[in-house]
């Protein structure tokens, strides 16, 4: 088993919270992990990404080779396109549709969405809207993880356990909210794939 995932977003959007839950799930599944993060200057509102590699075999490189990622998981639509050179011929792109506009020349969102819709395999999801329905827009990253979960070769129950572990110290209510966000994201992806 091997899942090579590019996580993408803007500094401050918290893509590493997704990586943390996935890492926890993979460890519980006795899988091996390498995960390269972006720290430093770009965290100040710049483009950030993480290479997450999960496998049952030893992983050599910390970075995913170009053209071989199984999944691009983006919490921002334009950022989902920035790493397309990593996507494999059979890979999926799963992205949030809400733009994060912190630059004066952010492109017309329709032209961004047009490019996303050109891809053979993609899921575009309004994670904020679903997160709000569930109870808090802060759970949008877990909606995104749920939407990506059908394309990651890890038992769904392990990802749920990952959420329980990571959010445990914030109380049962937060755990349940994030679990619901995860499930709603997954349901959306399965209906729209």
């Amino acid at each position: 088993m091997k899942s090579d995932i590019i996580l993408a977003g803007v500094g401050g959007q918290g893509i590493l919270s997704i990586a943390t839950v996935l890492g926890e799930a993979a460890l519980a599944d006795n899988l091996l992990i390498k995960q390269a993060e972006t720290h430093g200057m770009s965290q100040r509102g710049g483009a950030v990404y993480s290479h997450m590699r999960i496998s049952d075999q030893p992983i050599a490189s910390d970075l995913i080779p170009g053209g071989s990622a199984d999944l691009i998981l983006a919490v921002e639509p334009m950022e989902s396109l920035r790493y397309l050179s990593y996507l494999s011929e059979t890979g999926y792109l799963v992205t949030n549709v809400t733009p994060f506009v912190n630059i004066p020349n952010y492109p017309d969102i329709k032209s961004v969405m047009d490019e996303i819709h050109k891809l053979p395999r993609h899921i575009a999801i309004d994670a904020e809207a679903i997160a709000k329905e569930v109870g808090s827009s802060r759970a949008s990253n877990m909606v995104m993880l749920g939407a990506a979960s059908p394309f990651i070769d890890i038992e769904f129950s392990r990802i749920e356990e990952g959420i329980r572990t990571i959010f445990a110290r914030k109380g049962e209510e937060v755990v349940q909210l994030n679990l619901e966000a995860l499930r709603r994201g997954r349901a959306f992806a399965e209906e729209n794939r």
């Binding site: 972006t38 430093g40 710049g46 995913i64 080779p65 334009m78 396109l81 050179s85």
Partner: protein
């Protein structure tokens, strides 16, 4: 199951704690910062009372670590690559004095300059100082090298450098911990003159360092981190240093590499393996992160031996970090190139946070500078360096820590009056103070803006060693108190700030303006943690 999912920097922190370290000394700098932060938060480190407070700069950090080593205990100094420039004096001379307790110098290089002003390769410093250098290829090796590195330092009696790069620093992987070793007791150096580098003693010490090179080489050739891996296709022999080994193995899953490979993770380079590779193979390919150091060594001046391929002949790019794709290309492998990135994707550079005090300072400064010709503001290293970008475009330099004040003084000496320095509180403490003393001594017509956000912000909000002391430092250096002004950089104070800037730009002498408001990221973290 692997027990710890550690970043490379965290593996180093844990390795040092478990290896019996009594103190870490560091100044924050990406990608090295989290080594010290990990130790600061670690329960065992707290229980052992391992020293972990930030130092004012990398030089004070390494000197203090050397002092701890003098007293027999194990110590580590951590910094980013350019920090080693600041600490180069003590680093090179600590190789001369040698150590008492084990001393590790962990340096994190930043090839491709993700968060740095250059991509210098610290291995050259290791070679320059003639000390062993360790360069892990994985987080597990990083842990093991630090855990056992103190003993290596004690065996070789010199500081040992651990060199990592951004990818290893900020990548996570499973790490198994080793035995938790006791700390060293307080033991004085057996030779009371060991640390006195008077010329007569230093000449003797230098001969010792030179004669120990044979030992360092022998240890490299016997190191568990270096090895010769057999291969059947002798048309090419590969030398893979540090993390580059992983990029090579990415293309040859366990044991399938047809070419002989020398894995190098400890320096000096293991000569016997390299010589064997040279004997057996038609061509050599050198994979190394950073500068072509090993490649230059093997190629030689006349390049008339075995052909050597790498960064110098264009097989790999001369600059920037390596990755699996570049290594694949060097091996002649074709990979699927992925999908094209559409033109609609726009650059998203980092920017000052909304609500940051530096923004208010720059807006006021720009207004007050409108009466003068352009090019008068010299800046420094920190978040405020982003003031080079629109919409501010206020600053004209960013060179090294503290250079804002001294470059402003030099420009004023040349006749550019007024000249302005823009420096943060922590950078001022790091390397700005001595430059300000020079300006005071010569009554230079400069205005020094110390934009004080009460933290080291670009690296994540660490404590600034100048906290609460900036005015008293300036007064102590001899700045006229009538020309030291603090103001809160908020929109409501904009007019007052502009007036202050105008007034002090017109003053012929040294003035200091301190816009002071806590970093909004730090303030937010403080509220969250309450």
């Amino acid at each position: 199951m692997q027990k710890h999912l550690f970043l490379g920097v965290e593996a180093i922190g844990q390795g040092a704690i478990d290896g019996g370290m009594s103190g870490v000394y560091a100044y924050p700098g990406t990608p090295s910062t989290e080594i010290t932060e990990f130790i600061q938060e670690n329960p065992l480190a707290k229980e052992r009372n391992i020293h972990h407070a930030w130092s004012s700069n990398e030089k004070t950090a390494m000197e203090t670590a050397l002092g701890m080593s003098y007293a027999g205990k194990r110590a580590m100094a951590c910094m980013k690559h350019v920090g080693l420039n600041v600490a180069a004096d003590v680093f090179l001379n600590a190789a001369m004095t040698g150590i008492n307790g084990g001393l590790l110098v962990a340096v994190a290089d930043d090839p491709s300059m993700h968060s740095s002003q250059n991509e210098q390769d610290s291995r050259f410093y290791g070679k320059f100082a003639m000390v062993p250098v360790l360069e892990p290829s994985s987080q597990q090796e990083a842990y093991d090298m630090v855990h056992d590195g103190f003993a290596l330092s004690e065996l070789t009696k010199v500081p040992v450098m651990l060199r990592i790069t951004t990818r290893l620093a900020h990548s996570r992987s499973g790490v198994d911990r080793g035995e938790v070793l006791p700390e060293n007791p307080l033991v004085m150096p057996s030779d009371p003159r060991q640390f006195i580098l008077l010329p007569a003693i230093a000449r003797r010490k230098y001969k010792v360092l030179l004669s120990n090179q044979a030992l360092f080489l022998k240890l490299s050739e016997e190191s568990i981190y270096n090895r010769y891996e057999e291969g059947t296709d002798k048309s090419l022999g590969i030398v893979a240093c540090g993390i580059a080994y992983n990029y090579l193995m990415e293309h040859f899953p366990v044991g399938s590499c047809p070419y002989p490979v020398v894995k190098v993770s400890q320096y000096p380079i293991p000569e016997k393996y390299i010589k064997r590779l040279d004997r057996e193979c038609d061509e050599l390919l050198i994979l190394e992160e950073g500068a072509p150091m090993v490649e230059e060594m093997l190629k030689g001046f006349f390049a008339n031996g075995t052909p050597v391929k790498g960064r110098l002949d264009g097989t790999l790019p001369r600059d920037g970090e390596l990755n699996p794709d570049l290594v694949a290309k060097a091996l002649g492998k074709e990979l699927f190139a992925g999908f094209d990135i559409p033109e609609v994707v726009t650059n998203r550079p980092p920017a000052l946070c909304q609500g940051c005090g530096h923004q208010d300072a720059y807006l006021a400064m720009n207004e007050a500078l409108a009466d003068y010709s352009k090019g008068r503001v010299f800046s420094d290293i920190g978040c405020y360096t982003l003031g080079a970008l629109p919409p501010y475009e206020t600053i004209y330099s960013c060179v090294d820590m503290g250079a804002s004040i001294t470059m402003a003084k030099g420009a004023a000496d040349a006749g550019l009056i007024p000249s302005v320095a823009m420096i943060g509180d922590s950078t001022f403490a790091h390397s700005g103070i001595t430059g300000l003393l020079d300006a005071v001594n010569e009554k230079s017509s400069i205005t020094v803006v110390i934009s004080d956000n009460e933290s080291v912000s670009m690296t994540g909000g660490q404590d600034s060693s100048a906290f609460g002391k900036i005015e008293s430092i300036c007064i102590g250096l001899g700045v006229d108190p009538a020309h030291i002004h603090a103001i809160v950089p908020l929109r409501k104070n904009h007019d007052e700030m502009v007036r202050l800037f105008r007034q002090e730009f017109a003053y012929e002498g040294v003035s200091v303006i301190i816009p002071r408001r806590e970093c909004i990221q730090r303030a937010a973290r403080r509220k969250r943690n309450k």
